[in-house]
Structure formats: C-alpha cells, structure tokens
C-alpha cells in the first residue's frame, strides 16, 4: 500500500476488520429479521461507504397478509343486519314502512315507527331498503 501514512494504514486496517465483522453478522443469520447494518467512514483519500438500517419488524414477505377489503353484504338480510338501530325505510308492494330497525330475525324485521307502533315486515315482500 504505497503512499499511505502509518495512521492511514492503521485506519484502513480497522475499517477492514469492521467490514469483515459486518459481513459475518449479516451472513450468519438464518432468516431475515430486519437487521441490516451499513456504516459510513470517511478516510483521507479512501472512500468506504456502508449504511446502518435497524429494522425491528420481521420480513414483510413472511408476515400476515394485508387487511382484507371491507366486506360487502350479499343478501338482503346482511344489509338489514348492518342497519340495526338506524332509521330506515322498507318498501313493500303495498307501500313503504318507516321507522327504527330494532331487530332482524330469521325471516322478518321489526321496525318501531315514530308513533310507537311496531311493524313486522317479512323479508320475502321487501322490495327496497334505504337508510334515512
């Protein structure tokens, strides 16, 4: 190593030892747990670049899948179950029934109208449901 002072040679030797340790650490792990090391050293006349990245999480590729998209109702009953305790209008061939949806059972729903009357509406005759 010509043209290097003793101090530069010592520093270069230390840098080599350090980089060797980093390589050993990175290759010694069986699985990637997110620990990456990079170190940056500036030496006179010598460029040695590395980086330090401490990722505390596990590898994204092996983690849990992303959150599923919001589920959309597939049946009229599913829609009604999502509207319990809401003001709704349920339309039948005879006409609309408006009130607070208080219960959804196997084949009918229960609404409480503004005057306190309870209305039972079977699913099979519901044409339209809208949230008010």
């Amino acid at each position: 190593m010509p043209n290097l002072t003793n101090r530069q040679q010592n520093l270069l030797q230390l840098a080599n030892q350090l980089s060797q340790n980093l390589v050993n650490n990175n290759t010694g792990t069986a699985n990637n747990v997110g620990l990456n090391k990079n170190v940056s050293l500036d030496l006179p006349g010598i460029d040695f670049d590395a980086g330090l990245n401490l990722g505390l999480g596990s590898d994204d590729r092996t983690g849990a899948p992303a959150d599923p998209p919001p589920t959309t109702p597939t049946t009229l009953r599913d829609v009604l179950l999502g509207l319990v305790n809401e003001q709704v209008e349920v339309t039948t061939p005879f006409g609309p029934v408006t009130g607070t949806l208080i219960a959804v059972r196997d084949d009918y729903v229960v609404l409480v109208e503004t005057d306190g009357a309870q209305a039972l509406v079977p699913f099979e005759n519901i044409e339209l449901v809208s949230e008010l």
Partner: protein
C-alpha cells in the same frame, strides 16, 4: 325478545289490535288466529252488525303493524 320466525312472532300477539297489509289490501282488526300458513283477523264493526272474519295467507302479508297502546 322476538321470535325467530314471522309466524311465531305473530302467534305471540294473538288478541292484539293489528293492521295487516297485503299487496292490494289493508285489513284492520283483532288478530285472532295464527298458523304457519294462515292468519285470521276479525274486522271489528263499530255498529250492530256481525264482525267479519278475514283470512290471509301468511305469504301474502307485506307487513303487520301493531299500533302503540293508548296511554
């Protein structure tokens, strides 16, 4: 609080004043009998005439309204 099926819930309310809507009719009266397929409503005549028995198919009912009891 409520029965699982429409007919079973109706059966718990026999004797109540009721309004029953079908596609083309609105019947008001006293809920008298409920079976799996049939509902009997007695239409109350305020005069001196006979009361009218109205039989409705459960499948034809659009909705049933139970008015709030008067205070």
């Amino acid at each position: 609080m409520f029965q699982d099926t429409f007919a079973a819930e109706m059966a718990t309310r026999v004797g109540s004043r009721v309004e029953v809507a079908t596609d083309n009719n609105l019947v008001e009266g006293i809920l008298s009998t409920v079976t799996t397929n049939l509902v009997l409503v007695i239409e109350v005549d305020t005069g001196y005439g006979d009361n009218t028995n109205l039989y409705l198919s459960v499948d034809s009912i659009n909705f049933v309204r139970f008015p709030a009891a008067a205070a």
